[in-house]
Structure formats: structure tokens, C-alpha cells
Symmetry: C2
Subunit: 205 residues, 2 copies
């Protein structure tokens, strides 16, 4: 199909498609003449994937580009790629007393040890978790062993939920793609259900 049909089938405007092509989010079509290219059904799916990660997943174009680049590799490291999408990003470490930061790093390291998680020490999610423990402390809340264990159990349970999402027959998305999408949209689904559980249980008291 031509770019006009790709646009009408995906609902993505032509200039936006051209922007995604320039940014490498969408692979080039098959060039049929110097000014024309032909696109396939896989491009329609890819555009849908980009829009879902952007609108429903809340990722930036740059984050989507990096994630898709990893998914396009022959043997993608999905957990490592996903860890690049955590908040707070590396640009915004909360300013803090070095002793508070060191104590938070120890607390998170011990948690990872207790859970038996075999994680890369360079995993950005490790630093993000430490930053969040520091941030909580800065506004008057202490994440002690008891609270962190409760979050970790919920995290494990929700990762299990990500894996229970059932693939619908789709020849454009492999297991790595499903893994990544489940993790990103699972974050949002979990956050929405947290709000509902919070209201539902607050009222019940």
C-alpha cells in the first residue's frame, strides 16, 4: 500500500508517519520509485504499537525509539530495555543528604537480596527505586523493610499478571513485543487499579 492508505488504515496522519520514519520508529517501505514506497500490514501494526505506547503507555518518542530498536534485534534483552523507561529518569535525581542516599541504597540492595532477584547492578530501575525511597523520606515518609517487602510482593504478583495476558493470534507481534507491551501497559493498568482499590477500600472504612 501507499503512504496515503497506510495513513487511512492506521489513523495516523501522513506528516506524523514521515516523522516516525525519520526517527526510525517505523522501518522504511519498499522503495518503488525515487519518491514512492510501498508499505505492508506489518507497518499498520507497527504504527498502532507506536501510538499505544505513546498515548496509553505514556512513553516519549525517544523512549519508544530505543525500546523498538532493542525489540528489532535478533535476541532482544527485553527486561534491560524496559528498565530504561523508569521514572524518575537519570536526569532528575532528587538532591539529598549523602547519608540519606546511602541508607536508601542499602535498603533497596537488601530488598533485592531478600527477594532473590538476580539483577544487573547497572539496571536503571535500581537507581530509580533508591531515588524514590529518598524522595519519600524528603516529604516525611519512611519506606522500611515491612513496606518495601509489601511493594516487592505486589511487584512480583503484577509481573506474573503481565505474563497471564493472553496473546491474540497476531503474526506481527512476537513474544518479546508482547513482553514489552504487557510491562508498559501493565504499569498503567496497575496504577489505575491502585486508584480504584484506594477509593474502594477507603470508603469501606
Amino acid at each position: 500500500m501507499r503512504i496515503a492508505e497506510l495513513s487511512s488504515r492506521s489513523g495516523v496522519p501522513v506528516p506524523t508517519i514521515k516523522y516516525y520514519l525519520r526517527e526510525g520508529l517505523l522501518p522504511s517501505g519498499e522503495v518503488t520509485s525515487p519518491n514512492q514506497a510501498r508499505y505492508a500490514d506489518s507497518h499498520v501494526f507497527r504504527l498502532r504499537l507506536v501510538r499505544v505506547l505513546l498515548d496509553a503507555g505514556g512513553l516519549s518518542i525517544a523512549e519508544i525509539g530505543r525500546l523498538l530498536a532493542e525489540l528489532d534485534r535478533p535476541d532482544p534483552d527485553v527486561p534491560a530495555a524496559l528498565s530504561e523507561t523508569v521514572r524518575p529518569g537519570p536526569s532528575a535525581p532528587p538532591p539529598a543528604d549523602p547519608r540519606i542516599r546511602a541508607a536508601a541504597a542499602t535498603t533497596v540492595g537488601e530488598l533485592i537480596g531478600r527477594r532473590g532477584w538476580d539483577v544487573d547492578p547497572e539496571n536503571p530501575a535500581w537507581r530509580a527505586a533508591t531515588d524514590l525511597v529518598v524522595a519519600l523520606r524528603q516529604v516525611g515518609l519512611d519506606a522500611d523493610v515491612d513496606a518495601l517487602d509489601a511493594y516487592a510482593r505486589a511487584a512480583e504478583g503484577s509481573v506474573e499478571a503481565d505474563r497471564r495476558l493472553a496473546p491474540i493470534a497476531n503474526r506481527h507481534a512476537g513474544s518479546a513485543c508482547h513482553h514489552a507491551v504487557a510491562a508498559i501497559l501493565g504499569d498503567g493498568l496497575l496504577a489505575a487499579l491502585r486508584r480504584l482499590a484506594d477509593q474502594g477500600r477507603t470508603r469501606a472504612c
Copy 2:
């Protein structure tokens, strides 16, 4: 203290403090002359709160303004205010087949019923959860009863974790403030721990 000292004690530049004053994120100081005002320790804490919600919590200035306005009321409805911070926001509903949207709405409604959550039908998190089930389907994943129940159990467990965060003696933050901060930073902490659990358990397979 004068605005210069408020800036040095909070680490927030004076022009940014003035911006927060204009946006209503920071209450006015006590006016001491036509061009000067005096600020209190409560302003230092409030600036720290704004920065933590912005940098570590990932909220926008507009979202922080609405949340703090509710927290400043005599009897704030914290769960309702928190529900305004969910992603995807109302501006970005994924375009979808009305039957898929209707099926997703039913699935989420049934989940809320099974959990016994007494929630407001207008709670934006309800719509956000439906949007995410639709988005998952658009990229080839079906959130069935089994998966949704697993997410809901994790959501309940993590809301319990929010409540286990121990308040550190602080006369500037009441229970409503702690509730809100725990929910917002808890989302991030949970997402970071999800990435660590994902990597830790993928490797273990």
C-alpha cells in the same frame, strides 16, 4: 525569611518560586511591604513537596496544582483527587471499535464488582483502566478475568504497602498529604520494582 533565603534553603531558584506563587502551588507569604513578603518553614516543606511530586512523581505542574488545592481543603477527598492523575488522561482515549470498548468496559466493571470496591462510576481511573484493556487488545493481548484478578490483587497489596510507609515526625504534613504522596511515589516505586522483579525472574528461568 525572605524569598532569597527560601530559595537557598529549598534549592529552588527565585524565578521558579515566583512561578509557583503565580500558579497557586505555593501560598503567598506574609506581606511586609509592597514589594516584600516573609515566608515560613511551611513554605520550605511545600517547595520540597512540589519538587518531589514533579521530579520523582512525574506529575505536571497543573496536576500538582489540582492535587494540592484539594489537600488544602478542610476535609480533602484524597482518593478522588489522586484519580485525576492517572494515565492515559481523558485527552487520549485510544480510537477503537465500539464493541471492543464496550467489552472492555464490561470486563473492568465486573472486576470492580468481584473485588467489592465501592468506587465512583465517574472515577477517571475506571475509564483509564478500560482504555488500557482496549490498548492491550489493539496490540494483540487479551486481559482476561485471570490476568485482571492478578493485577487487582497486586493493586490491593500495593495500596496496603502505601499505608505501611511510616510517617516521620513532621508538623507540615498531615495524613492526607502522606496518603497522596505515598500513592504517587508508590506508583513509581512499584514500577521500578516491577522492572527489577522482571529482570530477576527472567534470568532465573
